[in-house]
Chain length 129, copies 6
């Protein structure tokens, strides 16, 4: 099951490989979060879609309308699309394990987060739960 | 190889978790059916794309323009997006095994069906053939 | 300026021309609301995008997760995609004239509402404000 | 005839109405530029599509991978989606009038620029040439 | 009201301006046909959506899976995206006037045909009916 | 990490199963190339996105604006969507192994190429690197 939301952020990337993206610029990230499990729960779902959407929104709210270069929690990381996909996946996993998606969600066994940065580029991160 | 079609149905969901979706409402489901195999056939295909599209259309025709709450074959199931994805995958698998996709299709080893219920939510079901 | 949202409804259509759509079925309508004006306001906007999105959501909330055949306010209309586009445009226009979009919005001179019922069909309604 | 490209920028918006968008953030703008004319030229085109794409790319290059708050040419404007659409349309119009799109392009009579800032919001600016 | 379909064709373009597109190549054209009228008919529609889709399909069938360079009816034209949009609009208009869309369709006053040749380029033709 | 580009080609398919696609026709192929690896490199990336896009473009340039039936390198193959996906994946893999994507790319362990031939059909090929 996949839910989609988006966030609008500013950031700059560190490293010569990034060329002009070393300058402060920004992105609208369209974010897909996919929850996987082997069998559906008794209601016939992977996870409550409403709750999944709310948790994704809550995770993105920490970044939305911000300059990631100024976020203390991101000081040590290069906020590439790949790194942000991993970070969002990790935060969703923490919330799921803490029960935010309900008891049924404890049977989720995998999580994939995809960030689309433009119509021609995206990055995904896949992890177990 | 993936073919896409869609269907327009009414239904209601059973269970408090579904909130307002417990009321009779509806959805346009955009349906992707993916057929997988290890090696291409001698013609260089996974499966005849025309036949695959026709079989998907035939499976969806049983639901299209209907109220799923009134379908006897669905009486015992909660027609969530996840359950419908599994159901459509199972019906395509039956048809493929019965030869509807041609002899070449007997080498298909997996099937994924994805239902997009809105621009922000979808569900997939993956199974062997 | 255009904002997008969606709603999931059940309905049936009256008239032989509608063929199988005379049966109770449903749709996910992706709804675009476009606000037009000759000149931008002093902030450089057509209308507050946040407010526009909230008003569109409020209008759609009256239909979302419902069977339109049971809505008393729709008893006399055939809820085709075209009719729903006009109805939503009219309700947005009422709200705009009542001040829901702020003072700046009083300079809006036109409104277009488009409903996408599937990947292959949509309808638009355009009106002055 | 319409060509599409995109740019990734940082900026902040001035005015209480913008709420959290007053903070430095960013956007991927997907940009459509539409050129209109009454009759096609002798080659059967509105404008050379290759040249139109190059001119759009050249206009966006002045903003791409930049913080618009630091651009001297934008110091006096609030870089809303609407204002950027107008600015890009005006720059394309200047280039077209200066002959950058070729002689045939002198028969273009209108220009529309649309900026999509997210899957749910966009703004268009239409002007004569 | 807009219906969408697509066609897959080969062709080459005549004229130095077309650069590499002077070679024989091809395109998948995604085609939108929009029918406009001032007021809805008594059923609450612009035109029967099923019929509109069938007529569009019939018009595209004359080109689909063909090399346009070999079509006698196209011998005198440069089959640019713009020219094909006009041609398809003209053929739909003829059919509508001949009654193919039903009596209600006689009240249609305008027609727009858009051909998307790639994710970054499209052309539209608008005409009265 | 996924990059997207497209190409416009003419071709015909050999084999009765292809029906009308045995005639010379064409397609716009929207091509996604996905690069996979277990861990990100020290810059926080899978592969330099700029280089990945350039390599994909270079591979597609050999086919773009051509009639594949006339390409000597394709004389022995049936250029189905599936076969083209495999061919493009193999060429990208060769380039990656030859160092075209930089040293970091040597840690890429998988590659997926997807070709979308129309809004309703696509094919993917997945291989290790």
């Amino acid at each position: 099951m996949t839910v989609r939301d988006h966030m609008m952020i500013a950031h700059s990337l560190r490293g010569e490989a990034f060329g002009p993206a070393q300058r402060l610029h920004g992105a609208t990230y369209v974010v897909d979060a996919t929850f996987r499990r082997a069998e559906l729960d008794p209601d016939g779902i992977v996870v409550d879609i409403g709750r999944a959407g709310e948790e994704l929104r809550a995770v993105l709210a920490e970044f939305n309308y911000r300059n990631l270069d100024d976020e203390p929690s991101l000081a040590s990381v290069n906020t590439t699309t790949e790194v942000l996909a991993r970070l969002i996946a990790d935060r969703l996993a923490e919330r799921a394990r803490a029960g935010a998606l309900g008891d049924a969600a404890r049977r989720i066994d995998g999580l994939v987060v995809t960030l689309h940065e433009s119509p021609v580029a995206s990055a995904s991160y896949e992890r177990p739960l």
